[in-house]
């Protein structure tokens, strides 16, 4: 039986062994960054964004620079290209040696020649990094004609070659198209193609996959690694995702507050971290493979203000191993051999076995047996369809955002809803909350019909079902103080007897979410992302709900802050018996917080099961692909997994494939799958999956198992 697919799948390829890299060490390093400093002059003073970082890189090597927002990693990358925003950005100190030449001392005309020809850069947002009014072909051919002086025909031919190299099909047609006609993944491939155009020796990628879906991320990163090895290109990947670092990097540098706090090979860093920040990060990241009951460590506090950085160790304020000694700045020194550097006075002790104590008591997470509580929310065959008319005479576009979704959530339970863009998970949440009208189906909350409720009964339900949004910036009214935002429900629903009682309650709510009382007088723009998200939670709690829809509540937060908010949500669930519908695209986070998980693709639920069952024995091919695509922050584990990458693009929800919506990308699809829409079947103890090929493939794997 022939499998039906859209585009080629990059096949299972073993990760090249790291020792092969060793042969290159003998050669001259391609890039040497030596004590680089970057400052920005702002009206409020000089911000020291990068304070002396150094590293070296050889051809064909992949270096990852890891850090959270504001740590200076992007500034360091822009400095190499000398693309810092003028006139504010400056490099007052340091050298950047590229093939022996100091880039910082080159005249601008020479630097311009190097940019795009010898060093290329790929940015985070493929949507906005391409010029919308110029054709794809023109944008690819530009570097060819500028640097290599090619004429039109030669450039055209080479452009075709490049598009094919990066896996863009139908290249001839694409050259005449415009960026808005390409998908996110294709645009990023285009950026890579532009970067490769003149055979550079070094490519710098600044968060190249953060804006992409999980399965597309995997495609892009595989492509980049493949090209790096084949064409001997040095790659610097800047990211905040430790999983990516574990899977792809040879060397790693961890940045914090403008400095490198630890540098090592990827193996070393994950196996034997020597800096409290690294250790904290590794412990606070939710992991796909974490055994049940693991508790997330949190790194309390916020990074320091780089306008007036602390004189001593910059991490000291948040460090659990802090000593008075830490008031003097530590240097970056080798631990465990010349290749592993750490900036900590106590790194030696850590090497000898000292572990930073965790801030919170390591009580195991008690998971309330979910089967026992009664069902709070029941969703039955929900459909939400959007019809839009781009113009008066145009064809109406029908988008089936949610097609026949059913599930239930019990009191005190968390149902995780996971999927990539266009899968409809956010629409499900909005429909349940009556923010978007449903097309058909049934939603029961307790005894009440949610979709049909009006007036007083609708208001009553709304109090019970609350919501927390993704974007901390726009989820709070910028013109209201924190106290007003949290206090409004108290006023509207008369939950407090008097003004002072209301104020007390606001303070109580603030402290429950871990914020100081005086925050009530501040405005949202004066708070950090994590703090704003806590205010959002407090606002939801003010109404004393029993159910909260969490729509990607931690996606926009830094890793160390994510852990804080997730832990808070867990604690609140235990204390108040809250039920959550946790919508997210990050599988590891969902695994951590959910009791049961449902996976969605293009408006359909393709698999739903108990949390452990889903992650340990996924049934549906899409779930398997999703899990395979998400990297785990542990190189040893990654090496054992190998890589299976799902090819093809996510179809547009306005033109879904017929039959099983996944068949265009499915590795086990056959002709049947085009005609039949699979329904959710139970494969044992509540593990549901929708795939007509499952029974046979399960039978086959039973057969192939030794007796």
């Amino acid at each position: 039986m022939r499998a039906i697919q859209d585009t080629a799948i990059l096949v299972d390829s073993p990760v090249p062994p790291r020792d092969a890299i060793a042969r290159l060490d003998a050669a001259e390093p391609l890039l040497v960054v030596d004590d680089l400093h970057v400052t920005f002059t702002t009206p409020r003073g000089i911000v020291r964004a990068v304070d002396g970082i150094s590293y070296r890189l050889h051809r064909g090597e992949i270096m990852a620079i890891v850090g959270e927002s504001g740590c200076g990693k992007s500034a360091a990358a822009l400095a190499i290209m000398r693309l810092l925003a003028r006139p504010a950005g400056k490099t007052p100190k340091g050298r950047i040696l590229f093939q022996g030449q100091d880039l910082l001392k080159l005249p601008e005309s020479k630097m311009r020649e190097i940019r795009g020809r010898d060093i290329a850069m790929i940015f985070q947002e493929p949507m906005s990094s391409l010029n919308p009014v110029l054709s794809v072909g023109l944008q690819i051919m530009e570097p060819l004609r500028t640097h290599l002086g090619m004429d039109k025909e030669t450039a055209h031919a080479r452009a075709l070659e490049l598009l094919q190299l990066v896996g863009i099909t139908d290249a001839e047609r694409r050259l005449d198209q415009y960026p808005h006609q390409l998908s996110g993944g294709m645009r990023q491939r285009l950026m890579i193609a532009m970067g490769l155009a003149c055979n550079p020796k070094l490519i710098i990628a600044d968060e190249p996959t953060t804006a992409l879906d999980v399965t597309i991320q995997a495609q892009i990163l595989e492509l980049m690694r493949d090209l790096s090895r084949r064409l001997d290109i040095a790659l610097v990947i800047i990211t905040h995702n430790l999983g990516i670092v574990a899977r792809y990097a040879d060397h790693v540098g961890v940045m914090y507050a403008g400095q490198m706090v630890e540098q090592a090979t990827a193996e070393e860093l994950f196996a034997r971290p020597r800096h409290p920040y690294t250790i904290g990060l590794l412990k606070s990241v939710p992991r796909l493979d974490r055994p049940r009951g693991g508790r997330l460590e949190t790194i309390e506090g916020l990074p320091p203000d780089l306008l007036r950085p602390p004189a001593g160790c910059r991490f000291a304020a948040r460090c659990t191993l802090r000593l008075p000694l830490c008031d003097t700045a530590p240097n970056l020194v080798p631990i465990d051999g010349a290749e592993h550097l750490a900036r900590c006075h106590r790194a030696g002790e850590i090497a000898a076995g000292l572990t930073p104590p965790s801030r919170t008591s390591p009580a195991p997470r008690t998971i309330v047996a979910p089967g026992q509580a009664d069902v709070l929310l029941r969703v039955d065959d929900l459909h939400t369809t959007f019809v839009s008319r781009p113009g008066i005479f145009a064809e109406p576009m029908v988008v089936r955002a949610v097609s026949g979704v059913s599930f239930s959530v019990r009191r005190g339970e968390t149902l995780g809803l996971v999927g990539e863009s266009g899968c409809g998970k956010t629409t499900v949440g909005r429909t349940i909350l009556r923010l978007t009208p449903a097309t058909s189906g049934n939603v029961q909350f307790g005894d009440t019909d949610v979709l049909g409720a009006e007036g007083a009964s609708l208001t009553a339900i709304r109090r019970q079902m609350q919501v927390i949004f993704q974007d901390p910036v726009s989820s709070l009214n910028p013109r209201m103080t924190v106290g007003q935002i949290i206090g409004e429900p108290l006023k509207v629903y008369r939950l407090a007897r008097s003004r002072s009682a209301a104020q007390d309650r606001v303070s109580e709510l603030l402290s429950r979410v871990g914020l100081h009382g005086y925050m009530a007088e501040r405005y949202p723009h004066q708070l950090s992302g994590g703090q704003r998200q806590r205010v959002g939670i407090a606002r939801a709690l003010a109404m004393e709900p029993s159910f909260i829809v969490c729509d990607e509540p931690v996606s926009a937060l830094d890793v160390s802050i994510q852990a804080q908010v997730i832990t808070l949500l867990e604690e609140l669930q235990r204390e108040l018996g809250l039920a959550y519908l946790f919508i997210a695209h990050d599988l590891a986070v969902v695994r951590h917080i959910s009791h049961r998980v449902a996976v969605m693709y293009l408006g359909h639920v393709v698999e739903m099961a108990d949390r452990n069952a889903l992650y340990e024995t996924p049934l549906h091919p899409y779930t398997k692909a999703l899990l395979a695509a998400a990297p785990v922050p542990d190189p040893a584990v990654e090496r054992m997994r190998g890589t299976v990458v799902l090819g093809g693009e996510i179809p547009s929800p306005s033109r879904p494939p017929s039959g099983c919506v996944f068949h265009t990308r499915c590795p086990i699809a056959t002709a049947e799958c085009r005609d039949v829409v699979p329904s959710l079947e139970d494969y044992g103890s509540g593990h549901l999956a929708a795939c007509i090929k499952l029974p046979e493939s399960l039978a086959k794997s039973h057969e192939s198992r030794p007796a």
């Binding site: 309390e300 989820s475 429900p489 100081h516 723009h525």
Partner: protein
């Protein structure tokens, strides 16, 4: 419970900066200067009786068409009236009509725009069509037509119909801009949160949307004060706005017509300068206000 971040309590300097006025002065020097100019103008207009050296209606055929001198700082016009005094009194007319027309027009426009954006659907479509039709005309054309239809109607010495004539064409233009602004707010999660919390439409529009529209509203208000003053000047110049012998800057320009270009150019120069400087001040202030409000909201 999770520990919280340290937050040093604000210094006196930061507290002072929290006051919007102080912040504005520090960050928008041009705006501050124009703001002061406007303030001065208002004061001068209010106390015209005290400030003006002569009675603006005082006709003096002997001393007509005098060039600027120590006696008449800006000269006299064709019937001997002191130009400086007429300009000072003219400020009253300009400011009164400017403020009132702009305020009425902008407020009506803002309410329409916000409601249209919030309710969406058919209401929005209808309002949009109407606004599109009204947008077609320059303010002055519509103003002229309304003046033609309604004629004059003096209340407390102010021509109410003139104010309406200028205010009504302003409303649809403001409605369009405010609607765009309100549309971007309507889709914000905090409005969704308010709806999910079950708040009434009225509360959401008044408490959640309008305060966020205040920024663009204020900017439009100052911009249209400038426009209103220009329109009033044009109307008066044509003889269809304020009428003789009331001092109005546009009116002064029409009496300083072509026959006097050669002999008494100051009749044209100073009233026009007064108009230009006032409009400039409002434009600068509006720009500064917009710049000041913008980055704040972006944090």
């Amino acid at each position: 419970m999770a520990a919280t971040e340290q937050f040093p309590s604000p210094t006196w300097r930061e507290r002072l900066r929290d006051w919007p006025i102080v912040d504005f002065i520090l960050r928008q020097p041009q705006g501050t200067i124009s703001g002061l100019f406007i303030l001065t103008l208002i004061v001068v207009a209010l106390f015209a009786d005290v400030v003006a050296p002569y009675d603006p209606l005082d006709v003096d055929f002997v001393g007509m068409l005098q060039a600027p001198s120590l006696e008449h700082l800006l000269g006299t016009d064709n019937v001997g009236r002191d130009i400086l005094s007429r300009i000072i009194y003219g400020a009253r007319t300009a400011l009164a009509i400017g403020f009132l027309a702009s305020f009425v027009g902008c407020t009506i426009g803002a309410l329409i725009g916000t409601a249209s954006a919030y309710f969406g659907g058919r209401v929005d479509l209808i309002v949009q069509r109407v606004v599109d039709v009204a947008m077609v005309f320059p303010i002055i054309m519509l103003a002229l037509v309304i003046v033609a239809i309604l004629g004059r109607n003096l209340v407390l010495g102010i021509d109410v119909n003139l104010i309406l004539a200028i205010a009504l064409p302003i409303a649809p233009k403001v409605a369009r801009v405010i609607r765009a602004s309100a549309l971007s707010i309507v889709n914000m999660p905090y409005i969704d949160a308010a709806r999910a919390a079950g708040y009434s439409h009225v509360r959401i529009i008044l408490r959640h949307m309008m305060p966020n529209v205040v920024g663009p509203y204020l900017v439009l208000l100052t911009a249209y004060i400038a426009q209103a003053i220009l329109t009033e000047a044009s109307l008066s110049f044509l003889g269809l706005g304020v009428s003789e012998p009331q001092p109005a800057w546009g009116l002064m320009l029409s009496s300083g017509s072509a026959s006097y270009y050669r002999d008494a150019p100051w009749m044209v120069l100073f009233p026009g300068l007064a108009i230009s400087l006032t409009v400039l001040a409002f434009n600068l202030f509006g720009d500064a206000l917009r710049d000041w409000l913008d980055p704040r909201l972006r944090t």
